[in-house]
């Protein structure tokens, strides 16, 4: 097959380039390093785009490493099974890596070789995770992602906050990896297979029993750690707040979402058969967990004053919304989530680049002293405001399209009428928080922040960046604008909804996936006719809620009313203090929550599904 050389190339090119970069570190040619990284990233984008085209044409494009083709329906080797969503996620990751590479050239005073090499390896790991058809292979790429991300977070190892962030990141995600591995071991013990289609075929048609449910619960908990679902989310705020901003572009844009992709992939290929009869219970559990994450993240987002930490909690909140969409366990929900993930990833990346531009003007721009910092960069402010509106799912943006599809999925299921309310409330709260932060930074609005609510203001080392300049360099502004416009394009381009629905249908078709991987048979699927264009009534409602978001933002910025009774003010302050104390920065606390959450989720799943 003509496409047969592409999948290994998507891994080989970035990794070889990273090796070359690491090996030539002593030479120290900055331009050469940038050129090698750029060439590797762009060629990977091209190859991933080709793979996407092939996946759309063939449904599931399967590649067997080492030529180990399946024998009589038994998988012998490791496969990449690339379907439209997997290829799409890989493409998306490569595009964001390109933005991060370009952005890092001016963000750091001296980039060196290690940083672009690590970015390339992270990109390869995410691509491998999205394309893999083997469960243990997914685990290995998951761990590679964690290791590379730890190194990237702690890149500025002469500062204190990144070290703590990387430590919390590493410990939480390593334990998440062990949970996944426990689940994989149990599944292997039961079925003797590691290939997703193989395990699915072995489990299909059998009654679900305790072992399968516990394995499912462990794998889901492990991936939820990566996806920062409450109560596994504590590490993300620390890590994303302290990682270098180009790295946050990839983290918030695609790395967290990849965790939920893993849950979806494992569910539909392996567990949809045995857990299918219990879909309604599973739907309830997933949607409730997503709802808790969405609201919890939104509340914490409103309480943040540091820009990057605010965006980190916005990420957590939206991961909850993605889980709600996924948890609907049907084509509409999946299609809506796919669009939402890509569109939201693009605008969040744009927001982080804008924060990076602010940091360019003043190195400690993530501290509390950001009021009015961005007054000299009006265009960046406009991009920030538009991206924040895109985050709040203003009609016309890709996130609005995705959200509408998820809401129509909820409308199909009886008893989920509250889901659209949840989504709207979350988006209004998060959008208001981000808009308010932008207004504080770019317009200087908002009250002076009291210092006792301040967290440690880590402004010791400021020479990360070049001297603050009057004009924003185009190389920083360009990615911000391009990413924001791409988020807009997803909402406006025709065919996006149709592609998403077709991709979701293919993603859910476990039997077709199994026969493609194990028997090489291509099955054409009938795509359900789902109307994806938002109706006029949806658009008007969306515009109304955008107005609500903007008003909420102004409310956030308004000075505290004098008529508020003292008891209410002190009660609110006590509650806020408790919430801040929960996120203590102590790795032991985070692991306690992780273990408790995993135990609780496993118990709930075992009792309700077993």
């Amino acid at each position: 097959m003509t496409g047969s050389v592409l999948p290994p190339l998507t891994l080989a090119i970035p990794m070889l380039a990273a090796a070359v970069l690491a090996g030539t570190q002593c030479l120290g040619f900055r331009l050469l390093a940038q050129a090698i990284a750029l060439v590797a990233t762009v060629s990977t984008i091209v190859i991933c785009a080709l793979e996407l085209a092939l996946a759309i044409r063939h449904g599931v494009a399967v590649y067997w490493f080492g030529g180990w083709h399946p024998h009589h329906g038994v998988a012998l080797g490791i496969s990449f099974a690339i379907d439209p969503f997997g290829a799409g996620l890989a493409c998306f990751c490569t595009v964001l890596t390109l933005a991060a590479q370009v952005f890092s050239w001016r963000h750091f005073e001296s980039v060196g070789h290690a940083f672009p090499a690590l970015l390339l390896v992270l990109m390869a790991a995410i691509i491998g995770f999205s394309e893999s058809g083997d469960l243990f292979n997914m685990f290995v790429f998951f761990e590679l992602m964690t290791a590379t991300a730890i190194a990237l977070t702690a890149h500025r190892s002469d500062q204190r906050a990144p070290l703590q962030g990387a430590l919390n990141f590493g410990i939480s995600n390593a334990i998440g990896g062990f949970l996944v591995l426990f689940g994989i071991a149990l599944l292997y013990g039961r079925t003797g297979g590691l290939n997703l289609a193989q395990i699915g075929a072995a489990l299909a048609g059998h009654r679900v029993d305790g072992l399968v449910v516990v394995a499912f619960a462990l794998i889901v908990c492990g991936f939820f750690v990566k996806a920062a679902i409450i109560p596994f989310h504590f590490w993300l705020a620390d890590a994303y707040a302290s990682a270098p901003t180009p790295v946050c572009v990839i983290f918030a844009g695609v790395m967290s979402e990849v965790g939920l992709y893993g849950v979806a992939r494992v569910y539909w290929t392996v567990f949809a058969g045995p857990l299918g009869p219990h879909a309604a219970t599973l739907r309830l559990i997933l949607v409730l967990t997503g709802a808790a994450t969405a609201l919890g993240g939104a509340v914490m987002c409103l309480l943040q004053q540091l820009l990057k930490r605010l965006l980190a909690f916005a990420t957590i909140s939206y991961m909850g919304l993605f889980l709600v969409g996924l948890g609907m366990l049907d084509v509409r929900g999946l299609a809506g989530t796919a669009i939402f993930v890509v569109a939201d990833g693009l605008v969040k990346a744009s927001l982080f680049v804008c924060v990076g531009i602010l940091q360019h003007r003043r190195a400690d721009a993530d501290s509390l002293r950001i009021r009015g910092l961005g007054r000299g960069s009006p265009f960046t402010g406009i991009v920030f405001a538009l991206a924040a509106l895109g985050l709040a799912a203003m009609p016309g943006w890709g996130s609005f399209l995705g959200k509408t599809l998820i809401e129509s999925a909820a409308a199909e299921q009886p008893g989920y009428g509250w889901v659209p309310v949840l989504i709207t409330v979350t988006e209004c709260l998060v959008g208001a928080a981000v808009l308010a932060a932008g207004a504080r930074a770019f317009l200087g609005w908002g009250p002076e922040l009291d210092d006792d609510a301040a967290l440690s203001d880590d402004s010791e080392d400021l020479d990360e960046l070049s001297d603050p300049e009057a004009r924003t360099p185009a190389i920083l502004f360009g990615p911000a604008l391009a990413l924001m416009l791409a988020g807009l394009a997803i909402g406006v381009l025709p065919g996006v909804g149709r592609f998403a629905v077709a991709g979701a249908t293919r993603f859910e078709a476990s039997a077709a996936y199994g026969s493609a991987v194990l028997r090489g048979r291509v099955t054409t699927l009938t795509v359900p006719r789902i109307h994806t264009t938002p109706t006029l009534e949806d658009v008007l409602l969306g515009l109304a809620f955008t107005v609500v978001t903007v008003s909420l933002a102004l409310l956030v910025l308004a000075p505290r009313p004098r008529w508020a009774p003292d008891v209410a003010v002190s009660a609110r302050r006590a509650a806020v203090q408790r919430l801040h104390e929960l996120h203590s920065g102590h790795p032991g606390d985070y692991v306690t929550w992780l273990v408790a959450g995993a135990a609780a989720l496993t118990a709930v799943l075992a009792v309700t599904l077993g």
Binding site: V140, L167, G170, I171, A185, Y188, S456, G588, V591
Partner: protein, 114 residues
């Protein structure tokens, strides 16, 4: 199928997690992470074990002899390599923490809160 190895795996997991939660020293914490890793190795190898099975090298024994499962051994080796990388990274970060914070007590890391 004897119960012992699985009990050991669960015990190592619980002890390691307890160590991580209550640790007062980052190096100790990361080594407890190593203990948790060890639990996954024990689990994998226990799943692959066959009572009375030979080592899965068919150079001098006839094909078809009962042997232990080699796949889990491959998985364990891969796992060892992966976790060695993660541990090395975390220990390097712990060294830097000692340099920048002046302490390796997790309770004293207060730069990121809220």
């Amino acid at each position: 199928m004897s119960f012992g190895p699985f009990a050991v795996a669960v015990w190592l997991l619980l002890v390691g997690l307890y160590g991580i939660v209550t640790s007062r020293n980052l190096v100790h914490l990361i080594l407890c992470l190593g203990v948790v890793q060890a639990s996954t190795y024990v689990l994998l190898l226990a799943i692959g074990y066959r009572t009375g099975g030979a080592a899965p090298i068919f150079a001098d024994i006839p094909v078809g002899t009962r042997a232990v499962d080699p796949v889990v051994q491959a998985l364990t080796l891969t796992d060892v390599v992966v976790e060695a990388t993660v541990m090395a990274l975390l220990l390097a970060i712990a060294l830097q923490v000692d340099k920048r914070f002046g302490t390796v007590d997790p309770d004293e890391l207060r730069d990121l809160r809220g």
